[in-house]
């Protein structure tokens, strides 16, 4: 009896084959249509979405890197420009100072020269005036002396004598 039952173990039953076939085919069709197709599509869509998101993140990172590189470049350029500007400004300042200095020197020289000339002129005028004054004074003095010298006859004679003495009629 045991052998009989165990033989039935490996003897496929027609009923179960029949029902398994029907159930399995139906399940395959129904699950294929209503479950596997939407699920697999959804998973695939999501995977593609994730892939796309990763790719866009990567490209965003690259963009950012590029942007940063650009920024650095711009910054470097700006720095260079600033340096150039500063240098230019310094040069300009130096030039202006130098120009001002030379101009001031020139002005000073010119003023000095004018002053010197004026001083000479003034001096000359003063000398002339002094000369005139001295001449006048001398004349006045000579007049006064002459007057005193010629105030009496003796004195006049004495003078003539004196003068005569000097004149050597040789």
């Amino acid at each position: 009896m045991n052998l009989f039952i165990s033989a039935s173990l490996i003897e496929p039953a027609v009923g179960l084959i029949f029902w398994t076939t029907i159930t399995f085919i139906l399940l395959l069709i129904l699950l294929g249509k209503f479950a596997w197709k939407p699920i697999l599509n959804a998973i695939k869509t999501r995977e593609e979405g994730i892939e796309k998101a990763l790719a866009s993140a990567e490209s965003a990172l690259n963009d950012m890197r590029e942007l940063r590189a650009n920024n650095d470049k711009i910054l470097a350029e700006a720095r260079n420009e600033r340096d150039a500007l500063i240098k230019e400004a310094r040069d300009a300042k130096d030039a202006i100072i130098n120009e001002a200095k030379s101009k001031a020197q020139k002005d000073a020289d010119r003023i000095l020269a004018t002053a010197r000339e004026q001083i000479i002129n003034e001096k000359n005028a003063a000398v002339t005036e002094l000369k005139n004054q001295v001449a006048t004074l001398s004349i006045e003095i000579a007049e006064k002396i002459l007057r005193s010298e010629l105030s009496s006859d003796e004195k006049q004679k004495a003078l003539v004598n004196n003068l005569m003495k000097d004149v050597n009629l040789n």
Binding site: M1, S6, I10, E11, I17, W19, T23, L31
Partner: protein
């Protein structure tokens, strides 16, 4: 590495085939004898035998026939036995559907047989087989047995489970992270799609993914149900595994390309050994799915038999002190069976994918690679 594994698998499957053939032949020889009196015997004979069996079960001193209990446990049944023995047994009667050559289609409850004690409408139930009293009548028993019930239940469960998961993709959108059921099953689905289908079939595997997924979850769910104490041993039933492996056989050979068939009928070997090689290759077409059938059946049935045998030790030794040992070992085997439930679902699906992959591969092992290399060279 892979060739070693496949060689081992081929070897083990051949061993299975030889073993199964040997067993089936020996049982057929032995079984042909006792069938005779039962088919021709009267109803009173069989009911008497069943009565004696019931009486034996009730006698506390009689030796317990563990073998028949174990074999009944793993076999299909026309009623869903829940608990109890003999007359105290609580069982759910299931519908009997018969197609008779003389009476046509007949449907009635298995409760009419009263656990094999009564005959109904000219039929009686002997050793879970419906037998007609009219020797000229041939019947096809397409009853909703315990296994069919569980299969229908699991199919409905799978359908509602996966359509609800499909719906949650629709309602939550595809960009959100999976939740609940979705997060448990999505890794399994992607595992079947990526590792099993794409890994073994390669390009164009998408076409076979629905089949592989259905097979995988059908086997997995029924393996797990089989481990629940009152569950049916559907995946350990050879009829079920037969249908699945025939499906694999059909899909493999329908999709077989030129290379696949030329490998079978025009092997790369001297023509002198073609008469040997070609029959071997043709047999090989059948042995691959045959091995699938036997592997799943034998693995699941063996697990169940080991568990019930371990529990049966208590009754063989008639000592309660064996119980802790039995329970410990049975627990160990049960945990192992948890692994086997997943493993066998994986192995069946993986090998199906492997067979399909070998049938649809673009090139065979000898010339194909060179062709591809040349193509690559041309492209570059």
């Amino acid at each position: 590495m892979t060739s070693e594994i496949s060689t081992y698998k081929r070897f083990s499957s051949i061993c299975f085939v030889i073993f199964a053939l040997f067993i089936s032949l020996s049982f057929d020889l032995n079984a042909s004898e006792p069938i005779e009196p039962e088919t021709h015997g009267t109803v009173s004979d069989s009911s008497h035998a069943a009565g004696a069996h019931a009486a034996k079960a009730h006698d506390p001193n009689a030796p317990v026939d563990i073998t028949s209990i174990a074999l009944e446990h793993v076999a299909d049944s026309h009623s869903w036995h829940l608990w109890g023995e003999g007359h105290d047994a609580v069982a759910l009667p299931l519908p009997i559907i018969l197609y008779s050559s003389t009476k046509g289609l007949q449907v009635f409850s298995s409760g009419r047989f009263e656990h094999g004690h009564a005959s109904y409408n000219g039929y009686s139930l002997v050793e879970e087989k419906v037998i007609s009293e009219d020797p000229t009548e041939s019947i096809f028993d397409i009853s909703i047995t315990k296994n069919v019930t569980q299969m229908l239940f699991s199919a409905i469960l799978l359908f509602f489970l996966f359509t609800s998961i499909a719906k949650s993709y629709k309602t939550q959108g595809v960009t959100s992270a999976p939740k609940g059921k979705q997060s448990f099953f999505e890794p399994l689905i992607t595992f079947v799609r990526d590792d099993i289908a794409k890994g073994n079939i390669g390009h164009g595997s998408d076409k076979y993914v629905p089949y592989l997924l259905t097979v995988f979850f059908m086997i997995l769910v029924n393996n797990v149900f089989g481990m629940i104490p009152i569950g049916a041993n559907l995946t350990g039933n050879i009829a079920f595994t037969l249908v699945l492996s025939v499906a694999t056989l059909i899909i493999t050979n329908i999709n077989g390309n030129k290379n696949y068939w030329s490998h079978i009928f025009l092997p790369h070997a001297p023509k002198a050994i073609w008469p040997i090689l070609i029959p071997i290759e043709i047999v090989g077409i059948l042995t691959k799915p045959f091995a699938l059938m036997i592997r799943l059946f034998a693995n699941m049935t063996a697990g169940h038999i080991i568990v019930i045998s371990l529990v049966g030790l208590i009754f063989v030794f008639k000592s309660i002190y064996i119980a802790p040992v039995s329970v410990a070992f049975a627990l160990f085997i049960d945990v192992l069976e948890c692994l086997v439930a997943f493993l066998q679902a994986y192995v069946f699906t993986m090998l199906t994918a492997l067979f399909i992959g070998s049938a649809v591969a673009d090139h065979n092992e000898d010339g194909g690679h060179n062709d591809d290399d040349e193509k690559l060279v041309v492209k570059h």
